[in-house]
């Protein structure tokens, strides 16, 4: 295995990058790639959800929003591991916020909250939910 071409150059580059990263940490172009290492002993989770007219849906199904409180959409202490989804939802709402819908738009009721999931010692999941904010939404075209 070690009679491969450029073996010592490769080992040197490999070692240098690993050691440098462990010293420097998360600074481009160095990264410990620790994104999923901290799973922890999680027995509780929270998943963001949206409902449109009472039906599970995605906020991307609508173009404009009113009445939704952006700060209430944040996890604020809930054990959320899908923070990127929350970020994306907030960006979507922020970019579509308006004081009122355009004339003639069909209005939908929008609800945003979190699905609370708990795992007991027997391996069974139980579910609950918490509503964080309500408002209205619409699409620009039918």
């Amino acid at each position: 295995m070690f009679d491969a071409p450029f073996a010592w150059s490769k080992i040197a580059f490999f070692s240098a990058y690993v050691i440098a990263t462990m010293i420097i940490g998360e600074t481009f172009p160095f990264s410990p790639f620790a994104m999923y290492s901290d799973i922890g002993n999680r027995r509780e989770g929270a998943v963001p959800y949206a409902r449109i007219d009472g039906v599970a849906a995605r906020l991307s199904d609508l173009d404009g929003f009113a009445g939704l409180d952006l700060e209430s959409m944040r996890p604020n202490g809930l054990p959320v591991s899908l923070g990127n989804i929350v970020d994306q939802d907030m960006v979507m709402v922020r970019s579509g916020l308006a004081s009122a819908p355009p004339p003639g738009a069909r209005i939908h009721e929008v609800e945003y909250g979190y699905r609370i999931i708990k795992l007991d010692d027997g391996g069974t999941f139980t579910y609950d939910h918490v509503v964080r904010t309500r408002g209205i939404g619409w699409k620009f075209s039918p």
Partner: protein, 261 residues
């Protein structure tokens, strides 16, 4: 020298990595790969979305130089800097930034290894110099996966294989999948032993990443890591198709008998 298809694929993927880094920075989310690749022919994208930091065109230029010309060092530098700026400087400029983005990191690390290897001995013919470059790029791949394994061990030791923790992760992600995949995730979430075994598989594969540096074992690691990424994508929704393409491209480009690199 006519560019190898794998070289073109490697360069194109770095653009998707750059664009995803940009969108993770401003929390607008990752873009689907077909969209990302389709955007390569849309100059409007260069001017608007990826051009937010005025870098989109620079990165695309870098890709063209790297893939099709002898100005590959300049091309690599443009790609590297574009990814670096989108990853770091952009994060400090944008409201509600998601923080450090890992999209494009493998491209950046392997590009650095490639350039170092390329410039190592300028007396060699171009094909041999490029082979040296891709060989060093394999070390970049090995280093990235090894660091991920070290991070897991430092965080939780060998408790990483605890199926219960994996169960919650998989259960949470069943709500963001098509129905068949959602059902699979829901089923797997109630089988922590299986999930624990898959977690161990991922850890072992990453600890063996150093084998990618050596031609005799390179193919086996490639297969193992592709299976790992496929499983992660299926069960957890984290799609690292760009890493699969990069690993596969480097495998092909570093092959001893390759006639084009």
């Amino acid at each position: 020298m006519k560019p190898a298809p794998a070289r073109i694929a490697y360069a194109l993927v770095s653009v998707v990595g750059y664009s995803n880094a940009l969108r993770m920075v401003d929390s607008s989310g990752r873009i689907p790969y077909p969209t990302g690749i389709a955007r390569l022919v849309d100059l409007g994208w260069v001017a608007t979305d990826a051009g937010k930091f005025g870098l989109g065109g620079v990165v695309v230029l870098g890709v063209a130089l790297f893939a099709f010309t002898a100005w590959e060092v300049l091309g690599a530098a443009l790609i590297f800097c574009g990814i670096g700026i989108a990853t770091t400087v952009g994060a400090s400029m944008v409201q509600d930034a998601s923080g450090f983005s890992h999209s494009g990191m493998l491209s950046a690390v392997t590009l650095a290894g490639y350039v170092i290897g390329l410039l190592r001995d300028r007396s060699l013919p171009l094909l041999e110099r490029r082979r040296a470059g891709w060989e060093l790029a394999t070390a970049g791949v090995a280093a990235c996966y090894t660091l991920a394994a070290i991070a897991k061990l430092r965080s939780q030791g060998f408790a990483w294989g605890d199926g219960g923790s994996m169960s919650m992760l998989v259960e949470e992600r069943r709500y963001y999948a098509v129905s068949a995949v959602s059902e699979l995730r829901g089923l797997m979430a109630t089988h922590p032993v299986v999930l624990g075994a898959l977690g161990w598989y991922a850890l072992v594969v990453e600890l063996l990443a150093f084998t990618f540096m050596f031609p005799r074992t390179r193919f086996f690691f490639l297969v193992a890591v592709c299976l790992m990424h496929s499983g992660i994508g299926l069960l957890m929704g984290y799609h690292y198709l760009d890493w699969i393409i990069l690993d596969s491209s480097i495998f092909l480009l570093s092959a001893p008998d390759a006639t084009s690199r």
